[in-house]
């Protein structure tokens, strides 16, 4: 007994030492770093280390107290009920934290000044474990603060309390306020403007902003040694327990500390959404296993030997132990849940052991199973296991109805960096209605069209203009009608490059920006020397295919270009090219030639590419034009 205690002591001591070393490292880093981001991260680690040290120290304290109490109890020989049943532990996971914000409209419309930004993160504590989430920068373009981390706490008891705290730090200007002497600081704050003065004052006096600081539950925070750099302040907190556990998202109240005057203030809506799931060990682990005999069928004397495994809400009976390991279906599954009644019967005087009768209600019917163990001790063990199971279920309540899924974040997943948690309108998702079927249909039709065109005979007479360029080395996308969307002058550059459709065709364009392209030519002169090989539809990777097609929209990769009317003789392709490169192409409509811009508006602006694409679009008569507005 003493040995395990000492073991636990030294464990905690080791942890404390480790955290102290981490804290020193964080302090040094904070003093040394120059960039704001680094300073914020270092400050966050410092805060977490402090919190952990605090938690470990209080745990040590508790253990020492418990030791003392035990010694006292033993001395007075006041043996309490020794067979107190203790419920099993559980794995508790909190994920998908989302904190809605409620910006005032004045923030958007009147606030022409700098963007008020804060760095926030969440600190989660359960028992002795403390975890922090990643840091998120919040400004008024965000509608919610989202933390993608999944935090898993092992070994939680049914009476657990999970404390969630939101810390924030203003990140606009560099208030190295720690170093400013107080008199100077107060002079500054009164002589500055009202709002910036408030901010200065807020930064200087971290405690002053929260009138209810440390009023209720003590914050996890240790008094921080004065370290230069950004300081986080507690913005809101809440405590979750077993009653909040559910297999879906729920909103909980968030108690907000701090007010509008503080520099680290954010307009929280007052709730926090998250998914809090718990997996008690009784649901995930085998609580009891052993050989049993079961009465199957209707025969009164027919006993079958099975290997029973008690796990979760079921008692699985396999033919033999190896079946269970091989994941073979059990012979019999008896439900063990809150409605089950289990009784040990003394009915059989012949056998050495008692019978165990398990009664379940299936629908309106009562079904009874009779089991027997090999010996009296086994029976006793099984009954004990069943009682423990029932006790666990009563303690863990809703967690034992069904196994809740906990997804462990895979450590190898690279962090998906979103450049900016944009607002709703910054993410225009491309229609994903194109499925594989549509893709292959469209591709097949394309191939047919090419075949058709190749039989058309000589290329149009204006093709001679493009003859001077030597055929290019084949890119893999040449056969596709290269109408990557031509951007308009006011192109929408904010679309993230990842969504760009026509990366495939864009790469082929990038090489010779100035001349009108022979890859275009290949679409048109199938009987030119070297093109026959290129005419064969290359197999693009499906991703490239889908992305090119997606960007072009439904059927949209048929640019329409009406062939220049016969009456106008040889059209002036160079002029067309010129007029295309300016997007206000109203002039060309008066020319009689059509200046449709097959305009799906995604790609990076490049006047040469634009002219090229417009040209292609114009000269293909079978396309149905689509324009983005």
């Amino acid at each position: 007994m003493n040995n395990t205690k000492n073991q636990r002591d030294s464990d905690i001591q080791k942890k404390i030492d480790y955290e102290i070393r981490m804290r020193e490292g964080a302090c040094k880093l904070l003093a040394a770093c120059s960039q704001r981001d680094q300073a914020l991260e270092a400050s966050k680690s410092l805060l977490t280390c402090n919190a952990r040290i605090m938690a470990y120290m209080s745990e040590l304290q508790r253990m020492k107290e418990a030791q003392v109490m035990q010694r006292v109890a033993r001395r007075s020989s006041d043996a309490g009920p020794m067979d107190d049943r203790s419920p099993c532990k559980a794995k508790v996971a909190i994920s998908d934290l989302r904190i809605p914000l409620m910006w005032k409209d004045t923030e958007y419309f009147k606030n022409k000044g700098e963007l008020h930004r804060c760095a926030v993160f969440c600190l989660l504590q359960l028992g002795g474990e403390i975890f922090d989430t990643d840091m998120v920068m919040v400004d008024r373009t965000l509608t919610d603060i989202c933390f993608d981390n999944t935090i898993v706490f092992n070994e939680a008891s049914p009476g657990f309390e999970l404390r969630v705290e939101l810390y924030s730090c203003c990140s606009e200007e560099d208030y190295s306020a720690g170093s400013t002497p107080r008199k100077l600081a107060s002079k500054l704050s009164t002589s500055l403007g009202r709002s910036s003065g408030k901010k200065m004052r807020g930064a200087l006096e971290p405690g002053a902003c929260s009138p209810t600081s440390n009023g209720g539950g003590a914050a996890i925070l240790l008094p921080v040694p004065s370290v230069p750099g950004p300081k986080y302040h507690l913005l809101a907190h809440t405590t979750l327990n077993l009653s909040h556990v559910q297999d879906s998202f729920r909103t909980h109240d968030f108690t907000i500390t701090g007010n509008e005057e503080c520099s680290y203030w954010l307009p929280l809506y007052g709730g926090v959404c998250c998914r809090l799931a718990a997996q008690p060990h009784c649901m995930t682990q085998q609580m009891m296993s052993g050989c049993l005999r079961v009465k199957l069928g209707g025969e009164p004397q027919g006993w079958t030997n099975v290997y029973g495994v008690l796990k979760g809400t079921n008692l699985f009976c396999y033919h033999q132990k190896e079946d269970m390991e091989a994941n073979v279906e059990p012979v019999l599954t008896i439900g063990i849940n809150k409605e089950t009644r289990i009784r040990a019967a003394e009915k059989d005087p012949h056998s050495k052991a008692q019978n165990i009768c398990i009664t379940n209600q299936y629908g309106g019917e009562e079904v009874m199973h009779t089991l027997a163990a090999d010996s009296r001790e086994d029976t006793q063990h099984w009954m004990e296991a069943f009682w423990q199971q029932f006790y666990d279920m009563s303690q863990w309540r809703q967690c034992c109805d069904d196994l809740m899924k906990i997804e462990l974040p895979s450590p190898r997943k690279p962090a998906i960096v979103t450049p900016k948690q944009g607002s709703l309108y910054h993410e225009m998702v491309i229609d994903t209605s194109d499925d594989i079927g549509t893709v292959t249909d469209i591709l097949a039709r394309r191939i047919e069209e090419f075949d058709l065109r190749s039989q058309l005979g000589s290329p149009p007479h204006w093709m001679s203009l493009f003859d001077e360029d030597p055929p290019r080395s084949p890119h893999s996308h040449q056969h596709l009608p290269p109408h990557s969307p031509s951007p308009r002058l006011h192109s929408r550059c904010h679309r993230t490059p990842g969504l760009l459709s026509s990366n495939a065709s864009l790469t082929s364009d990038s090489d010779s920006p100035t001349s009108v392209r022979p890859c275009f030519r290949q679409a048109w002169s199938p009987d030119s020397n070297s093109s026959s090989g290129r005419f064969r539809p290359r197999t693009l990777s499906l991703d490239a295919k889908l992305s090119t097609l997606r960007g072009r929209g439904y059927g949209g990769f048929r640019c329409n270009c009406q062939p220049p009317t016969a009456s106008s003789g040889s059209p002036r392709p160079t002029q067309i090219a010129l007029s295309c490169s300016s997007s206000t192409s109203s002039s060309s409509s008066s020319e009689g030639s059509n200046s449709q811009e097959s305009d799906l508006g995604f790609s990076r602006p490049s006047s040469a590419r634009r002219s090229l694409r417009n040209l292609r679009a114009k000269l293909d008569p079978r396309n149905w034009l689509q324009s983005q507005v």
Binding site: Y425, V429, D431, H490, R492, G556, N623, W624, Q626
Partner: protein
């Protein structure tokens, strides 16, 4: 919704008011159009009548101003801010939608489901 050239067109329309979204210098509506009297109508995947050269909505950006206003893919645009869209070229249609000094476009659009709904409610009487 079939139309006979030279005869007046009747259709059940829905009014849709789209507030353009300002993105820097650009005004975005968030959808794409196809069609026009200068286009090949047989390639229009949304039209019932394959000789219909009207302007159709071919794509609606998710979450964009058009979707928010109620525009759906496959709608045929009959009017934009009072200008007729049933007999225009593709470029003319695009221009009527993208006037820089207009923040709001009021469309009259028609779709098959509207017609069906009205027909059904009329049949019940």
């Amino acid at each position: 919704m079939s139309f006979i050239p030279g005869h007046p067109v009747t259709a059940v329309v829905q009014r849709i008011e789209i507030h353009k979204l300002r993105d820097g210098d650009n005004l975005i509506l968030g959808f794409s159009i196809g069609g026009g009297i200068d286009q090949d109508p047989s390639q229009n995947p949304f039209s019932e009548d394959k000789t219909d050269k009207g302007i159709y909505v071919t794509r609606v950006s998710k979450g964009g101003p058009a979707e928010v206003a109620g525009l759906r893919m496959g709608d045929k645009i009959m009017q934009v801010n009072g200008w007729d869209m049933t007999m225009v070229t593709h470029d003319q249609a695009r221009k009527k939608l993208t006037k820089k000094n207009e923040d709001v476009v009021r469309l009259l659009v028609t779709r098959k489901s509207l017609e069906n709904a009205v027909r059904q409610s009329m049949m019940q009487h």
